[in-house]
Structures are given as C-alpha cells and as structure tokens.
Amino acid sequence: MGEITASAAAARPKRDKRAVTALKARFVRHNWTLVALLFVVLLIFPLLPFVESWMVYQGSLVIVYIMAAQGVGILTGYTGLVTVGHGGFLAIGAYTAALLMKFTGLSLIPGMIAGGVMAALFGMLLGLVFLRLAGAFMAIGTLGFAFFIGSIVNNVPIFEGRTGISLPANTVFGLEIDDFGFYYVALMTLALITLFIHSLMRSGVGRAFKALRDSDKPAESSGVNRVFYRTLAFSISAFITGVAGAFNGLIVNYVSAEVYADIWYSVDLLVAAVVGGSAMLFGPFLGGFFVAMVPFFLDELADFAFILKGVVLIAVLVLAPAGIAGVVARPFRARRRRLLDETRGPAQTVEAEEVQS
C-alpha cells in the first residue's frame, strides 16, 4: 500500500513535467515568437523619444516592402513559382488607388482594398495565361509583364506618364492623418496580412500550394486542382503586393511612371524574398528590411550599395540557402525538437516536424 502511494507521488510530478515540456514545445515556434516580437518592436518604434517624423516615414516604407515581399513569398516560397514581375502589381495597386482618389475622392483604406482587388484580377489573368510555364520561362514572362505595365503607365494619357498624379493628403474615416497615422494604418494592415498568410498556409489551400511546389504531378493525381490553385496563388500574391503598392503611392501622395515603370522594383522584391527566406513567415520581414534600408544607408554611395547587395545575396545563397530566416529559425527548431523528443519520443517528432514546415 505504502509502496503504491509512493510510486504515484513520484509519477505525478513526472507527468506534470511532461505537460510543461509539451506546453513549452508549443510556444517555441520560431514563427510566432519572432514575428510577435517584431510586431512589438514595430508598434513601439514611433513612440520612442528620439524618433522623428522622417524616421516614421522610413519605417512605413520598410513596412510596404515587407508587405510586397510577403506577396512575392506566396509564389516563390510556398508555391514554388518564380516571379520577376511583381513591380507590375505594385504599380497596378498604386495607380488604382491614386486614380480612384483623384476622380472619386476615395480615401486610404478603400483605396488600398481597391488596389489589391485590381492587382488580384490582373494576377488571376497572368496566372491563367502563364499556366504552363516554369523556371526560366516563367521568369522572363513575368518580367515581360512588368515591362508591359511600365510602358502602359508611361504612354497611356490617363496615367500622366512622368509628370505623375499628385494627390491630396491622406484621410482615414474623414480625419487627416500624418506620418504617424499612416505608419499605424500600414502596420495594422501588415498584421492582418501576416495573420492571413499564417492561417492560409495551415489550411487546405496552403497544403495544396506546398504539395504543388514539392511534387506537382503526384499532387495533381491525388486530386489537387493545379489550374485552380496556381491561379489562386497568383491572385493572392498579387492582392498583397497590390495593397503594398497602394500604400507605396499614397505615402508620398504622388505616383509617377518615373517610379513605377522601373523594373528594378520587381527585381528588388525577388531579392527581398530570397534573402529573407520566403517559405517562412519571418522571412519577408528580414528581406523587406534589407532591401528598403540598403539604399537609405548608402544613398551617397550607390555603387557600394550595389556591391553590398550582390555580396549579401551570394553569401546568403551559399551559406544559408533557406534565407536568413532559416538561420534564425535553426536554434528554435533544434530546441523544439528536443522538447518534443522529451514528451513523445523521437519517432513521432519526425512526423510532427514534417507537418510543421
């Protein structure tokens, strides 16, 4: 009798310990921990005492780049399609929002939704037209699309070419907002988009994307509709980049072909997705920050900025093929695996990890 109670007493703390480890394992998900941490930083950044208005403006630009890189990441990371044409969607978002604001007086938030929807329509169209392309063919096709959009905004009169369209100050629900207000609207949108991508990738749609990326023919033969999901991936990706484009235009209250006919936008967005690591929630944050800040720090030394970009790009590809986010995630993954090993034994862990990624 006494022996049994003793063993029960010994067992209970042990089980408790297991439960705690399991709970810990739940929280050591690099995705949530790091992204949440970053959002806290972004949230309090404008409130710091030394921060000035122009820094907040630069912060909004970084957010816009992160958003656009998230859009690219849907294709390059999760669906395994390459795109060098997302500058085109950026332009579509920016011009849709700008023209609506000019002619109908639509404000920032409806303008940005309209920009996203318009970009998504074009994305769907492009996805359908390029349905059978992959690799090098896809790259040049999407690049051609960006050029095409660029030459349209340059030449069709309504877009006012290089003169550009000047817009009134931004308002939200009838209230005029300054750089700080704009920053928080952009940050809120970024949070919504991040949440959306996170849940999308955990849903059946996300699994279909990844299945098409990892092995398209088996995925198709087990019932994943390739036409539908590819087009959907294109539309979602274009929507997010279109929203980013609307912000990018409205932040300076001015859109012109000088900016949006430049195909280097498209290339920069691809670089952001690759450097950050696009198959991870955290990746576009790093990539977007990198691409937005390099020209800012090295404005006077444009040539050096080029060299730095190239060296970083190659270094990341050689040393960290999964992007910088992959390196950041490594200790988290290792710790999570250890914790899971403790709770369930190694056999199940492998399976759990596979479901994770």
Binding site: G144, F306, I307, L313
Partner: protein, 289 residues
C-alpha cells in the same frame, strides 16, 4: 520603308544574337540564366576603352585583350560563385547571377563612374546600298563579325572534341560523366565561352551606344527574350529569335512610334509564352528546373 526597317532591324538583331547565344550556351549546360551576361560585356567594353585610350593600343589588340580578360572573368565567376552552388535549385542559380550582376555593376560604377563615355573608335556611318536599301558601313561590319563568330561556333560545336563534349553535357550530364567527359571542366569552359561572346558583344555595341555601367541592361533582357524565343536550348533558335526581335521592334518603332519600340519584345514574349510555353524551336527533352 518596309525593306529599310527590316534591314536595320536585322543589324540591331545581330547584336542581340551574341548575348542570346551566350544565354543559351550557359543555360543548357548549367540550368542557369546568366543575368550577369550583359555585365560581362560591359566590363569588356570598359576594358577595351582603357586599352585603346590609356594604353594607346591598336583596335584589334584591345579587342583581343578584352576577350581574354572577359574569358577570365567568366572562369572566375564559375569558380567563386557558381561552382559552390552547382547542385542548388533553379531559383538559387538565377538569383546568384543577379548577385554577380549587382557586384559587377557596382565595381564598374566605382572605378569608372556613372556618367556615359564615348567609345574612341567611331562607328562608320558611310551609307552602303544593299538590295535597294541603305545601311551604314559600321552595321555591315558588325554583321560580318557576328556571322564570323556564328561560323566559328558552328565548327567548334560540330567538329572539335570540346564542342562535342559540350553538346553531350547538354543532352545528358550523367551519361556524359559516365562516358568519361569531365563535366565540371566542360561547365568551366562554358562560362569562359560566355565571357568570350560577351567581350565581342560589348566591344561591337559600344560605338553605337556608349560606355556606362548600365549600357547592356536592355541588350541583356532582349538577349534573354530571344533565347526563350528559340526555346532556350537551341543556338540557331536563339539567333533567329534575336533577329526576329530586332526586326519586330524596328517595325513597331517605324509604324507605331518610338514609344512602342521598347515594349515590343515583351508583348512578343508574353504572347509567345501564352500559346507556346516551350518557345518556338523547342526540342523534346527532359526538363529539370
């Protein structure tokens, strides 16, 4: 008018052909779209400019030295950047050459400045009458050069040991390796050949445009478009694609207005890919992207 536009279109198309062929040669042996191809040519043009102006060398000697330097540059890029990444996926290879592009761009801007420079050898504008159309002598000389390079390439791929080995690597790298072909060395040579073609492209185009870090950007993209037109595996296909693009954009520029000239190549590629995703001259083959 039409004949005239076609002839001058062929002249500019032949200059795109060198880049298009280089894109194909590298792609089919390494699965890499070399975005630095244009910058190899730009470096070649800058070096030729220096040899001509600062060292006072003869045109042909400068050209030869630029060619040698560019071959070295191709070798260097293969050794330092592409070989460590040889087993990576398609996108990694693509973005790695983008990294090389950025570096070469920055280095050129750093050493030689961003402003455009005139090439000391002037382009000969003397008009020559060919089949009822007029073409400048400079263009004719360029076309002769390009034709000559084309013939040399044909002989190389058809009759020399290295050329045949290169084609074997294109067809099936694993089997080629098993048959005793040093695949790595052939890939190394491929990058050297890209450098060689780039040097010619840069030096031939420099008198027509100018010399600056971004001089070849447009040519590179048109060369890439032309290569895709030809199906990315075929050298004759790439040449035909380049000539087609040269003619088409000249016709668009002539009849619709200069604005439309730049967009032509892209409208063409989008339409082509929508209806024939494998390019015009695709050969049935195992594709790995």
């Amino acid at each position: 008018m039409f004949d005239q536009l076609v002839i001058s279109g062929l002249a500019s198309g032949s200059l795109y052909a060198l880049t298009a062929v280089a894109v194909v040669v590298v792609f089919r042996n390494t699965r890499t779209i070399n975005l630095a191809q244009g910058d190899f040519a730009m470096i070649g043009a800058f070096l030729a400019l220096i040899f001509l102006k600062d060292f006072g060398l003869n045109y042909y000697v400068s050209l030869g030295l630029a060619v040698i330097c560019c071959i070295g540059l191709g070798f260097l890029v293969e050794r330092l950047v592409m070989r460590p990444l040889a087993d990576s996926d398609w996108l990694t290879l693509f973005t790695a050459t983008l990294g090389v592009y950025y570096i070469l761009h920055g280095v050129a801007g750093w050493f030689w400045g961003r402003d455009t420079k005139a090439f000391p050898v002037t382009f000969d504008p003397t008009p020559v009458h060919v089949l009822g159309t007029i073409i400048s002598e400079g263009h004719l000389i360029n076309m002769a050069w390009v034709t000559g390079i084309g013939i040399v390439l044909y002989v190389f791929f058809k009759y020399t040991k290295q050329g045949i080995a290169m084609r074997a690597v294109t067809d099936d790298p694993e089997t080629a390796e098993l048959m005793g072909i040093p695949v790595r060395f052939i890939v190394f040579l491929t990058w050297g050949m890209a450098g060689l073609l780039a040097a010619f492209a840069g030096v031939l185009i420099a008198p027509i445009i100018y010399v600056a870090p971004e001089m070849m950007d447009e040519v590179l993209i048109k060369g890439y478009v032309a290569a895709v037109f030809g199906g990315l595996y075929s050298i004759p296909g790439a040449i035909v694609g380049a000539l087609l693009i040269g003619v088409a954009e000249n016709l668009a520029g002539g009849y619709l207005g200069a604005h439309y000239k730049v967009a032509t190549a892209f409208v063409m590629i989008v339409v082509l890919l929508a209806f024939r995703p494998q390019g015009l001259f695709a050969i049935q083959r195992r594709r790995e992207f």
